[in-house]
């Protein structure tokens, strides 16, 4: 850390107040990104290798994600749709 500070104790206390924790569920969701990404990749790979599975996944994107343990957030659903449409 190379930054220089002019803050007294009151100033430092005020800076501490600037960074309250983000909501715990937001943080938990962000931490799940690697697992969600791996699950999405696996689902797409299986769907690309199985026409019937692909049809079912495209028809029920949310349910397909949930069955993989992935929260069907809008961004994730859109990515799955995009990857299977490609």
């Amino acid at each position: 850390m190379s930054k220089r500070f002019d803050h007294d104790e009151e100033g430092i206390a005020e800076l501490l107040r600037q960074l309250p924790p983000a909501p715990a569920d937001w943080v938990a969701a962000a931490k799940q990104l690697p697992a969600a990404r791996a699950g999405l990749d696996a689902l797409v790979a299986r769907a690309e290798a199985d026409v019937e599975l692909r049809r079912r996944v495209v028809a029920e994107l949310d349910a397909a994600l949930q069955s993989e343990g992935i929260e069907p957030e809008e961004r994730v659903v859109e990515e799955l749709r995009r990857r299977l449409d490609a």
């Binding site: 930054k3 104790e9 960074l19 983000a22 690697p34 697992a35």
Partner: protein, 187 residues
């Protein structure tokens, strides 16, 4: 709270597929991203949450392309600002009172300073770091802090003062011309 690894190390571990490193990255920068969205750009509720998730999704997806891993913080800050501006501009049903990129530089600079102080907390004793975090960041009462840490509530104020003093020492003037850099651990 342990002393955080340098960002470049954290990035290298994330790139190697270490999920714990990703968790550390989210823990380290979650407050920063949240504060830029809510305090810097005034986003609330679902907008702030969407930006938060979008930022970390972009960071995760593009981590391999980051040319200077030690510039992680600047990259996250810039990505967060872009996501906030995109979100505000996307609200076609709202009249903007100011251009979204008019957020004062001082506000964002202040959050950068706050993150430096936050990182310095890890160089205090775990008890000091927790007391300061609970009081200043989580807005907990003396009683709640005392109950949580098994300390008499009547001693919390003096402990806060002492711990704040130790944190201040990390930034105390050391060099002839100015302020010192944070390099030591204070217990």
């Amino acid at each position: 709270m342990s002393i955080p690894a340098p960002d470049a190390q954290l990035v290298a571990r994330c790139r190697a597929g270490d999920e714990n490193a990703w968790h550390e990255l989210v823990d380290r920068y979650g407050r920063y991203v949240h504060a830029i969205a809510t305090r810097g750009y005034g986003l609330r509720g679902g907008d702030a949450e969407d930006v938060f998730q979008e930022v970390f999704a972009r960071i995760y997806e593009r981590l391999a392309t980051l040319r200077k891993p030690d510039a992680l913080r600047a990259w996250i800050g810039q990505t967060t600002r872009r996501c906030c501006i995109d979100r505000i501009r996307a609200r076609s049903d709202e009249v903007l009172l100011a251009e979204p990129d008019d957020v004062p530089v001082e506000t964002l600079g202040r959050l950068d300073d706050a993150l430096d102080v936050r990182d310095a907390l890890a160089r205090l004793s775990p008890e000091c770091a927790e007391i300061l975090d609970r009081f200043f960041c989580r807005d907990e009462s003396y009683r709640a802090i005392g109950d949580r840490l098994g300390l008499p509530a009547g001693t919390i104020a003096s402990r806060i003062s002492r711990c704040l003093g130790k944190l201040r020492e990390l930034f105390a003037d050391e060099s002839p011309e100015g302020k010192k850099q944070v390099t030591t651990t204070v217990s």
